[in-house]
């Protein structure tokens, strides 16, 4: 657990009342990623310029509407960090060479999905962390290429159904590989700050952004984004599924800071993974028409293995 003195916010009532993300964006009802962004921006405020990779969140800004109080720049699917680099460099030049007042400065922030983050945008992000770019990266991670109708991404979990890795007789699991461990990959770059967050833990999320706000350099966030359309659940279940992701231990809520990984929410008694799986259409094939015990057991084992060192 993080040290209590670290915490800017102790309970949900402490979070800022101001909204930076207005309601009524064209994103899906029950989008966990949008809720995560809404909470993050409450902390970051509106002096933010978002660099957006092609993905679901691109639909937040459809001419002439935009629900954000900050600035927005749509860029290519793989260059949101490079775009942030250009903006950051230019703001620094204007401050250092032309005396731009601090009050004009902006927090540069990438908004990208897991498709961009884990796959084609990985190399530019690696380079930006290596350059110690002063920016925030917000990955809304719904574990698939959601905006195109939910195809397999490198974040899609083993045993899940996606449009391009559908379960079949010869391939009963659907996705047959484990998801790429982006947390470890990014951690290996030694960024200033790295955290996973979920909309179900708003105080934890807000405290992490509050901490990131005080730091300079690459500050990276992976936000679990339960996805009603891609995962197949009623939008009203978003928070329940986000809660189960934490309570089952499937989604470790953690941060990496000053060389150390800390779990900021540890599920005391882990709920069996199938309680999380059975609520989602993308895992339906693990239960119907025939229960696939081996695959469910494999998923459970992986979670147990992860937590073993911390028990």
């Amino acid at each position: 657990m993080t040290d209590a003195t670290d915490k800017t916010y102790r309970k949900i009532k402490d979070l800022p009342l101001e909204e930076e993300v207005a309601p009524g964006s064209p994103l899906c009802a029950g989008c966990g990623g949008l809720e995560g962004l809404r909470l993050a921006e409450k902390v970051l405020g509106h002096n933010v310029v978002y660099s957006n990779a092609a993905g679901c969140f691109t639909l937040m800004s459809i001419f002439p509407f935009n629900p954000l109080r900050g600035s927005w720049l749509y860029t290519t699917m793989s260059a949101p960090t490079a775009t942030s680099q250009g903006i950051r460099d230019a703001l620094d030049i204007r401050k250092n060479k032309y005396g731009m007042p601090e009050s004009e400065d902006l927090q540069v922030m990438v908004i990208a999905g897991d498709g961009s983050t884990y796959d084609m945008g990985l190399s530019p992000t690696s380079a930006a962390i290596h350059r110690k770019l002063d920016f925030i990266y917000f990955c809304y991670d719904n574990q698939g290429y959601g905006n195109t109708g939910f195809q397999l991404s490198a974040s899609s979990p083993y045993g899940s159904h996606t449009q391009t890795a559908p379960p079949a007789l010869e391939h009963p699991a659907g996705a047959e590989q484990e998801s790429k461990d982006i947390f470890e990959i990014w951690k290996a770059h030694n960024p200033v700050y790295l955290a996973t967050v979920t909309p179900r833990e708003p105080v934890d999320l807000a405290n992490k952004f509050a901490k990131a706000k005080t730091l300079k350099g690459p500050r990276l966030f992976i936000c679990l984004a339960p996805c009603p359309t891609g995962w197949g659940f009623d939008p009203s279940l978003m928070h329940q599924i986000a809660k189960l992701a934490v309570d089952t231990g499937i989604f470790p809520v953690r941060e990496y800071f000053e060389g150390k990984v800390t779990h900021t929410k540890i599920p005391r008694k882990r709920v069996p993974v199938e309680k999380y799986l059975e609520l989602q259409q993308r895992f339906r094939h693990l239960f119907e028409p025939k229960r696939q015990d081996e695959i469910i057991a494999h998923i459970q084992q992986k979670v147990d293995d992860y937590w073993k060192p911390y028990e």
Binding site: W72, T75, Q85, G86, L91, K97
Partner: protein
């Protein structure tokens, strides 16, 4: 007028770097690629040494580099960058994206033929792949032109009527690594011609929040933005004329969309661009010695395409050969159909308009090639492109194949 003029022997790459330095560039996102690398190496040294101020950032690819260049321009600083060949293709998605952002910067492309097979010497398939991307394009014949067109380019790109990036092209090796005498204009004189960048469009800063490049649904709104971009690019032709006129007044060197060479009484015309235009001019002189009235029309401004000027320059010329140093596989030269289209409405358009493709991968265009072009023009046979590749070239290739162990029988 001119102030102190500094005359130096410079490669095309060094001239390009000087162009950026004299322009007072604030920001250079960079990525190396032969034959461009000397430009960014030179700039890196100047930023490190304090001769240039702002920031030089080593990027991870051309795709990232052009995104950073566009984003910095949208944030209100003067940006320069450079690339070549595969780098242009790798960065193409970003280039299309940033032209849609409507941001000003100048980039240099050092032409190099495209893979595969991979090679280093120039042709123009790289730069002409950007034909439709929404950049202003100026193609340089000499190292002096590289420098001057960069300075004029900043006036064009930063003009509120344009707000589109400017690309200055030079040939790899023939210019990039060839030292020529270059007049370096006085920095103060340049500053009068090109004051420090002051963005006319809103830039990213706290006091002016903006959404840029939002998604569009429906062809109607999309068409509005694209036509607006097209009209701005057309307008860049007029802005270039104004800026070039002022440049000529201040520095004594004139630039136009087209440069005619011995065209007045020419009966044969070669249309060419870039450094090989020098070879073309030399061929014109040799042909003139043989009483053949040849002339040359050099294409400087490739985008916006100078249709009217071309029509005017070529009206009444009977025999015209368009020498494309590029190839659209399955069609022929890339510029030929554009020139033909420009001439179509002209009453006294050329009787023979011959498509020629040569100089691929830096292959020399020889005097004998120009003779062959004259010959073909006399015959009036312009049905298929004349591909410049002769018996000697083939013999050399056969020799290579022999070394590779292929026998004549297998080849034929």
């Amino acid at each position: 007028m001119e102030g102190t003029v500094n005359r130096r022997m410079l490669t095309g790459n060094k001239a390009a770097a000087w162009g950026a330095r004299l322009a007072g560039v604030d920001y250079v996102p960079a990525f190396p690629i032969t034959p461009q690398t000397e430009i960014v190496e030179t700039l890196a040294k100047w930023f490190a040494g304090g001769e240039m101020t702002g920031k030089f950032t080593n990027m991870d690819s051309e795709h990232s580099m052009f995104a950073a260049a566009g984003a910095a321009a949208a944030t209100g600083v003067r940006v320069f960058t450079a690339s070549s060949s595969q780098g242009i293709l790798y960065g193409m998605e970003s280039l299309y994206t940033v032209t849609g952002w409507r941001v000003p910067f100048v980039m240099v492309n050092v032409s190099r033929a495209l893979a595969t097979p991979i090679t280093l010497e120039p042709d123009h398939n790289d730069v002409l792949a950007l034909r439709d991307a929404g950049l202003v394009q100026f193609h340089a014949e000499t190292c002096q032109e590289v420098l001057d067109l960069i300075l004029i380019g900043y006036r064009v790109t930063e003009d509120p009527r344009v707000c589109l990036p400017v690309l200055v092209n030079m040939d790899g090796f023939y210019l990039s690594f060839t030292r020529e005498p270059v007049l370096l204009p006085d920095e103060n004189a340049v500053r009068e011609f090109l004051p420090p960048f002051k963005a006319e469009q809103p830039v990213f800063q706290a006091s002016t929040p903006q959404a840029r490049a939002s998604a569009i649904f429906g062809g109607s709104h999309y068409s509005y933005f694209k036509f607006q971009q097209h009209l701005a690019l057309q307008k860049a032709g007029d802005v270039f004329k104004e800026a070039a006129r002022e440049f000529a007044d201040r520095f004594g060197r004139s630039y136009h969309a087209l440069e005619p060479y011995r065209m007045e009484d020419a009966e044969y015309v070669f249309v060419m661009s870039n450094s090989f235009a020098t070879k073309g001019k030399s061929a014109v002189n040799k042909l003139r010695q043989k009483e053949i009235k040849a002339g040359l029309l050099k294409l400087v401004q490739v985008r916006p395409f100078p249709k009217k000027e071309l029509a005017k320059a070529l009206a009444g010329k009977k025999r015209v050969a368009v020498i494309d140093q590029n190839i659209s596989l399955g069609s022929g030269g890339i510029l030929f159909p554009e020139i033909a289209a420009a001439l179509y409405p002209v009453q006294d358009r050329p009787e023979t308009l011959l498509p020629v493709v040569g100089g691929l991968g830096g292959k020399d265009i020889l005097e004998s090639d120009f003779d062959a072009i004259i010959d073909r023009l006399d015959k009036g046979d312009a049905t298929a492109p004349l591909l410049l590749y002769n018996e000697h070239d083939l013999a050399q290739f056969r020799a290579m194949q022999k070394i590779a162990g292929k026998t004549e029988e297998v080849l034929s």
